[in-house]
Amino acid sequence: MPNKPSLGLRLAFWAGMLFLHFPIVIIVLYALTTEDRTYRFPPPGLTLKWFGEALERQDMWRALLLSLQVAGMATFIALVLGTMVAAAMYRFQFRGKDAITLLLILPIALPGILTGIALLTTFKRLALEPGFWTIVIGHATFCIVTVYNNVVARFRRTGYSQVEASMDLGADWFRTWRFVVLPSIATALLAGGMLSFALSFDEVIVTTFTAADQKTLPIWFLNELFRPRERPVTNVVAVFVMLITFLPIVLAQWLTRDTDDLHGGGKTS
């Protein structure tokens, strides 16, 4: 029989939830305020005009576009490499396997500042100019593990005999991949890919180390905070970003419901 939590426990729960999510409510509230210099409480009035202003800001659009491109490319790289490493780790026994698991997790476990410095040093050594591709590579390092975790869990659950059955029935490697493996890991790829995308989309620290003068959306935010005017525009964009990152995560969770596949969701940095 399920126990009903005590009143105190329930109060504590809701207090915790309020503490976690109250700032989000504030962000939405100040996207609607009429006053544009200081965040006065309560807001003197409510308006929708900042939504219009935000849409006309070219620098915002450039930052948003860059962020989408970076996140898209980093996710693509993570999907390809993460799936390949998951397949290798599932299928083969070899020396140093545990070490590789650790290496995969490191970029997400290490503080972002270390990853950032390490990448910057490496790029300098390799004489790579900071730019779009250095940001993508930086993001891909910590995106791979989310795909890897999801896909390797799916492989373990599915078992290898389906692959053998497919080849037994006349399908070569390519067709087996196309007709059996890919359909069985499709939702794991989707979940891992969405998490990757969300991780990359709001990344600041690694980006600051690997970008030249490019501004991804989170960096654009940081810069905006120092502007004296039109502050609610930042809040409007923040509301958009919340939707862009929130919806895929909810979708990913829904797609992999009834499974315990959603790994690597939390990046500690």
Binding site: S161, Q162, E164, A165, M167, D168, G170, A171, V180, S184
Partner: protein
């Protein structure tokens, strides 16, 4: 006509483990051939070598006269029924069964027609739209069978296909499989650890032990003339007697049903006196556990009126022809 399968001094080692260690055998076309042995005896690895899922470390595999040792599974005219069935969960039953036709590029109408025929043959007509997850274990088994047979292979490999079924279903499927094999006239290689299954279905049985074939014979000869102590004990049950106890040289197997049990101690040739430890009444038969010296022997007799007291003296007797001499060491 060439043999369906020839294994020539075949070995497969995983690191230090000699899973298959120098196996020679020939399977004739149309034969129901079983590989019998305890787990880890090499029978499944041997089957997987024939299917192409493992690479031989040494030796050769010939399928219908063609060297096949290095061919990938999809290039062999062989199909497999896997122990866990390995059905594709994201396809319905019809697409599962039609899979082999689909990858060969057979058109949709034709492959669905043939899939439906196959499903009828395994008594699953009308199940085409279901998903594997919606079927019972026995039904999944039949789908796996239909899927493996749709391409009309000349050789079907079955890896403990009935292992996951309950006893009653298992016995039904044994009869059906045997009937199917007869009507199709194709070669079956059947891996099992269940000796009664192997004996009742097979034309010939290879008994595996530690990566080698211990004995390869018809079921009747295997039971009647076990060559080694391992075979005698694994196929049916057997009492193994040291020759010295009965005035002979070597070692002998004696089947429980070949032993007569009499009350009291009697002298004479071909008998041993002992103490009755236990009696198990099994209906038509009765099993007696008897201690002779420091050995425990089992005798099985048709049940009759006689009632022997537990702990009392008995004498076990047999015809000299019932003793089978065993090879002592290989």
């Amino acid at each position: 006509m060439s043999n369906a399968v020839e294994l020539i001094n075949l070995s497969c080692h995983f690191g230090p483990v000699r899973a298959v260690d120098g196996v020679d055998l020939e399977v004739r076309p149309g034969e129901f051939f079983s590989m019998l042995g305890p787990s880890g005896s090499g029978k499944t690895t041997c089957l997987r070598l024939i299917g192409g899922f493992e690479q031989p470390s040494a030796g050769a595999i010939r399928l219908f006269g063609q060297d096949a040792g290095r061919l990938p599974p999809y290039a062999r005219d062989v199909n497999t029924v896997f122990q866990d069935y390995a059905l594709f969960p994201h396809m319905n039953v019809r697409d599962n069964v039609a899979y082999a036709l689909m990858v060969r590029g057979v058109g949709r109408a034709e492959r669905y027609r043939r899939a439906e025929e196959m499903l009828e043959q395994v008594k699953l007509a009308g199940f085409g739209d279901r998903r594997p997850g919606q079927l019972s274990g026995g039904q999944r088994q039949r789908v796996a069978l239909a899927r493996a047979l749709i391409n009309q292979p000349k050789l079907l490999l079955l890896d403990e296909p009935l292992g996951a079924l309950d006893l009653k279903l298992r016995e039904e499927m044994q009869i059906e499989l045997k009937a199917l094999q007869r009507s199709l006239g194709i070669t079956f290689i059947y891996v099992t650890h269940d000796q009664s299954e192997a004996l009742s279905m097979s034309d010939r049985v290879a008994v595996f032990n530690q990566g080698r074939i211990e004995q390869l014979d018809t079921p009747k000869r295997l039971y009647e003339y076990p060559r080694t102590e391992f075979v005698a004990r694994f196929v049916g049950s057997a009492n193994v007697l040291e020759g010295s106890a009965i005035g002979l040289e070597g070692k002998y197997a004696l089947r429980p049903e070949r032993i007569r049990v009499q009350a009291g101690h009697h002298g004479g040739p071909n008998c041993l006196a002992g103490e009755l430890l236990d009696v198990h009444y099994l209906g038509s038969q009765t099993r007696y556990e008897v201690r002779v010296g420091n050995q425990r022997l089992t005798a099985i007799a048709s049940s009759d009126e006689q009632e022997l007291p537990i702990g009392g003296p008995v004498t076990l007797g047999w015809e000299p022809s019932a003793l089978r001499e065993l090879e002592v060491a290989r």
